[in-house]
């Protein structure tokens, strides 16, 4: 998950902090860091995430924010 530049991408509920997800009354932001090279174009990845999250989003408008691209670790190394 991405956290935002100043770790602003988080949701606080009670004593718990969930980084990478900003839940508002009517919208939901999901911040991600994608592995590089990308398996699919970014809009497709975002669409998959939106589909996965939809059942739990409570009808909120879901936005996906790609914070960064990281080179995936090579398991053979």
């Amino acid at each position: 998950m991405g956290r935002g530049r100043w770790v602003e991408a988080a949701t606080y509920e009670g004593n718990e902090k969930v980084s990478g997800v900003v839940v508002g009354p009517e919208d939901l932001e999901i911040h991600i860091v994608a592995d590089y090279p990308l398996p699919r174009p970014i809009p497709e990845i975002a669409e998959n995430i939106r589909e996965r999250v939809a059942p739990q989003s409570g009808g909120r408008t879901t936005s996906v924010v790609v914070e960064d691209l990281e080179v995936a670790e090579d398991e053979r190394l």
């Binding site: 990308l38 809009p43 497709e44 975002a46 669409e47 996906v64 924010v65 790609v66 914070e67 691209l69």
Partner: protein, 188 residues
Amino acid sequence: MSVFNRIVMTLLFAGLFVLGVYMVVYSFDLFGRSLTSLPISEFANGLENFVTRVEDGDLTILTVTILVLLAVVGLLWFIVELTPSAPRRVRMGNGTYASRSVVAGEVSTAAEQVPDVLGSSVGVRARRSPGARVDLEARVRRGEDLGTIKSGLQTKVQQYMSEKGLPVSKLNIKLVEADPRQTKTRVQ
């Protein structure tokens, strides 16, 4: 509100607050202070004279120029304040956004895949509409055919970005002839 305007407004309100406190103290003769003890008679006279001269249209050219400049600065400031600030993230359409650094990194990767490009620096500005405005500065060897490199670079970047699904609405390319010894890559 921009950061500069916030600072100005904070200082202005702090000043007004302090003046308000002084006004209450002097108006009600608190702590042994009264309005009559204030050394403002010269200032008040000067202000009165100035207002009289404004009403009579008897101002020097310098004063008029300063007043006009102040009015213009105020108007420009007001217009800047009304202009909506640029969004931080690049909109890709349909509720998907990418940070500017992601777009910049991908443009740089695409540019440096072109054999003639020895190095690059990228500036990305997000827009309200989908797509980013990208300013790409690519460093090439001296004596190369800049027109051909530029068109090849444009095609490569557009193609690469569309494969990744990152929309670029405007791509400005600037080619800079550089010494290969001072660039990121000497030979491609």
